[in-house]
Amino acid sequence: MSAVGPTPEPAWLTSTREAARARFAEVGLPSTRLESWRWSSTRRLADVDFEPATGHAADGVEAFIEDSRIGEASHEHVFLAGRHLPELARRREVSGLTVLPLREALADDRLRETLGGLAAWQDPADAFTALNLAGLQDGLVVHVARGASGGLVHLVHVAEGATGPTSAHVRLLVVAEATAELTVAETWLGHGGQTLTTHVAEVWLAPGARVTHAVLGEEPAGSHLVHTLRARLDRDAAYHGHLTWLGGGWVRSDVDLVCAGSGAEAVLDGALVLGGEAHVDSHTRLEHAVPHTASREAYEAVLGGKARGIFDGLVVVQPDAQQTDARQSSRNLLVSADATANAKPTLEIYADDVKCAHGTTVGQLDPDQLGYLRSRGIPRATARQLLTGAFVAERVAHLPSAPLRDRLQARVDGALARLQEDA
């Protein structure tokens, strides 16, 4: 595996990388025997020789991503098969905001504390994090200074597998100092072909920091994305994760948010509109480690074709984390005969003065609602589209950034229309 970049890699990273490589060789790909992988088989990956992509030309990428660009972004960085393309980056000077490709940021010794500080890789269930570390190519490091407002930082990842199966291993590190504000967006696209991408995002929120983190996954069939997201919230920090999966590929989304300071508040939204043979396994963990923290989690999935949507959500209330207020919900709408929904909303509670609730539903469109709309003269297809759209509309509306929300609405509408055509 090649070193990260032109600047010599620091010794601490090399040795961690070696240890992670050894660990991955030892444990291998996670098997469905592991509780957290019971619904996602990795067998399909075992037989494919994924190679790190080399020397793909950036030609054509610019046009390909044009629709996904966000004009309002203060920083926009494009990665092709895990490599940063500086020529396509857009940068605007924002006071207090530092954004660097990982290979350039490595010179800073502070990275030693933060990079990899939240994403454990020893457990067999975290084998992909070990693989990511072993094969790490590039990534982005975002730092927002105390009290600064970083605006919107956008990452566009393009998977490239047209000339044979490729792998990419990338990272995102966000450090928001006290009372800093930032919106970070990730867009995942693909050119087709067989691809495997592992991504590990680590977000550090200092006291009072506020981060919105929106992820939009649109990789096509044939792609495999293991998306790992870790955030640590200090006192009075607020983190809003918003993940939308619309693609046709295989996605494992692994989220772990820790409310480590009192007053911290974590919000996690998930929206899935899946058709074809898409497979999205959302695995979330929200930990309340100290008293007086709150979390809100809501996932909504529209599943058509032969798609499979999995929600495996865990809320942990540690001993003494009194006054925790946690709510978790997962709603699934099956719109085809061959779609599958799996849900496992889990609570682990070790404190008594808490308010925790979760709810899950799996069902189809309400025939009464359909009947009502049809009685008003709305054609069946339109009525179905309206109701399925309404099912995920709340999640889209929950995204706080207006430019992101508008783009997302258009994308979700497109995905719903495709689902309608397939049906």
Partner: protein, 480 residues
């Protein structure tokens, strides 16, 4: 309530903690094929049953103990368990209650089930299992007139081998899980119920289990079959004497409901939970499963779990026939260091199948409790409907309450709903009741009883009273 009062109540010794001293005929500890052969010979079993046991034993040897569950316990030494224990009185086979060892009767007395009187008054036939051998059965005749077979498992093997052979292991196969395999190899005794076509069992059937021999693992085997259009309500309840060694109890219960048949299975479990440090309690690792085989059949599990150091069971229903219904109502109470990992599985296979799950968990002291359930809707299970409600009530800041529901849906016409909440008894509610003159303890009892009402109302009258009493005793003083 003051901390001191809480501690006092928590320390309260186990009410039913005593050992009846009866000369017993017990195998020395240890398990191998010879022990199984001896056990089978001792019970005069036919060849096929011995072979079935040996097959289970050989399979068990290839299995490893499960480790995914939440409760933790010291490793169990299966060679230190004695696999057979029969009260001596069995040899001179009592013909009536008068001939039963007075000490046995005394035991029933303490348990509050004087056989004749209570059975007569309450209209309940009691097949009391005192350790491993059934020593008294009542109302056999009356049931016989209705065509209902209700006897100990060993008797059923003798008198109705064809029925036992047909249904034994048909719901819980020998290779099902570690403890079911062990049970299949060494099961001691249990109850057998068969209700023929169209018969509504004229009374509620009840068995009281007691574990009474030192170091004797209990491996009960219960098999209940209702034919087309038949109905039975079965009550299982237990208390156990105090002792200082952990005891393993690995029972298997199998229920089979044919077309339009209905089985209502109720349990009140109050085995010794261990002292306040969790020493000496019963390990209750049970496999309970029913199959709604025929169209329109119905199986309902109701359980009140207050005892045992570790309770680990998932009464399940396979909804195989069309239009079948499965129900699970549970109240589980854990105090001190008790651990419970319990829930249910509802497997929707047939069309228009329905299931309801209501689980109420109450955790106090340093106890740890989990609801673990599975609702699976198979591809062909059109219009399946499930509703699940599992709530936890926490009393004390060092206890744990966890919820692990699994939902797997492969049919778009299914409607599956799951709701869960976790909270403590609200200060406002307690304050309101106290202001009306109730003591704090009574106030909390009232709230807790209300919390469990949905489940209690599913219990037959006789049990509902016992259940409420148990709940109050189990939680006495755990609140403050």
């Amino acid at each position: 309530m003051s901390d001191q009062a809480i501690d006092e109540h928590l320390r309260k010794a186990y009410e039913h903690g005593w050992v009846t001293d009866i000369e017993s005929d017990t195998f020395p500890p240890g398990l191998n094929e010879e022990v199984i052969a001896a056990l089978s010979a001792r019970k005069g079993e036919p060849r096929w049953l011995l072979e079935w046991r040996l097959k289970a034993y050989r399979h068990w040897l290839t299995m490893t103990e499960p480790s995914w569950q939440k409760p933790h316990h010291e490793p169990i030494d299966y060679q230190s368990i004695s696999y057979f224990s029969a009260p001596k009185s069995k040899d001179d086979a009592p013909k009536s209650l008068d001939e039963v060892d007075p000490k046995l009767l005394e035991t029933y007395e303490k348990l509050g089930i004087p056989l004749a009187e209570r059975a007569a008054l309450a209209g309940v036939a009691v097949d009391a299992v005192f350790d491993s051998v059934s020593v008294a059965t009542t109302f056999r005749e009356e049931l016989g007139r209705a065509g209902v077979i209700f006897m100990s498992f060993s008797e059923a093997v003798k008198h109705h081998p064809e029925l036992v052979k047909r249904y034994l292991g048909s719901v819980v196969p020998i290779y099902d899980n570690y403890y079911a395999a062990l049970n299949s190899a060494v099961f001691s005794d249990g109850s057998f119920v068969f209700v023929p076509k169209g018969v509504r069992c004229p009374m509620e059937l009840s068995t009281y289990f007691r574990i009474n021999e030192m170091n004797t693992g209990q491996f009960e085997r219960t098999l209940i079959v209702v034919e087309d259009g038949a109905y039975v309500s079965y009550l299982e309840g237990c208390t156990a004497p105090q002792r200082d060694r952990n005891q393993l109890h690995a029972a298997v219960v199998e229920l089979v409901a044919e077309g339009n048949g209905e089985i209502k299975y109720s349990t009140v479990q109050n085995w010794f939970p261990g002292d306040e440090e969790g020493r000496g309690g019963i390990y209750n690792f049970v496999t309970k499963r029913g199959i709604c085989k025929g169209r329109g059949s119905r199986i309902s599990w109701t359980q009140v779990e207050t005892g045992s150091a570790i309770t680990w069971k998932y009464p399940s229903v396979i909804l195989k026939g069309d239009d079948t219904v499965g129900e699970f109502y549970s109240v589980a109470v854990t105090a001190n260091r008790q651990q419970a990992d319990t829930g249910t599985k509802m497997l929707h296979v047939g069309k228009n199948t329905r299931s309801v799950i209501v689980s109420k968990g109450i955790s106090a002291g340093r106890a740890d409790q989990s609801y673990r359930g599975l609702v699976r809707v198979n591809k062909g299970a059109d219009n399946a409907r499930n509703f699940t409600q599992c709530d936890s009530l926490l009393l004390g800041d060092r206890c744990g309450a966890h919820t692990f529901p699994y939902i797997e849906v492969k049919n778009p016409t299914a409607t599956v709903e799951h709701e869960a909440t976790t909270s403590k008894v609200s200060d406002e509610q307690v304050f309101y009741l106290r202001q009306r003159g109730l003591s704090e303890e009574d106030a909390v009892n009232l709230v807790v009883n209300g919390f469990c009402k949905d489940v209690f109302k599913q219990l037959p009258m006789e049990f509902a009273v016992e259940a409420q009493k148990l709940l109050a005793v189990s939680l006495e003083g755990s609140v403050g």
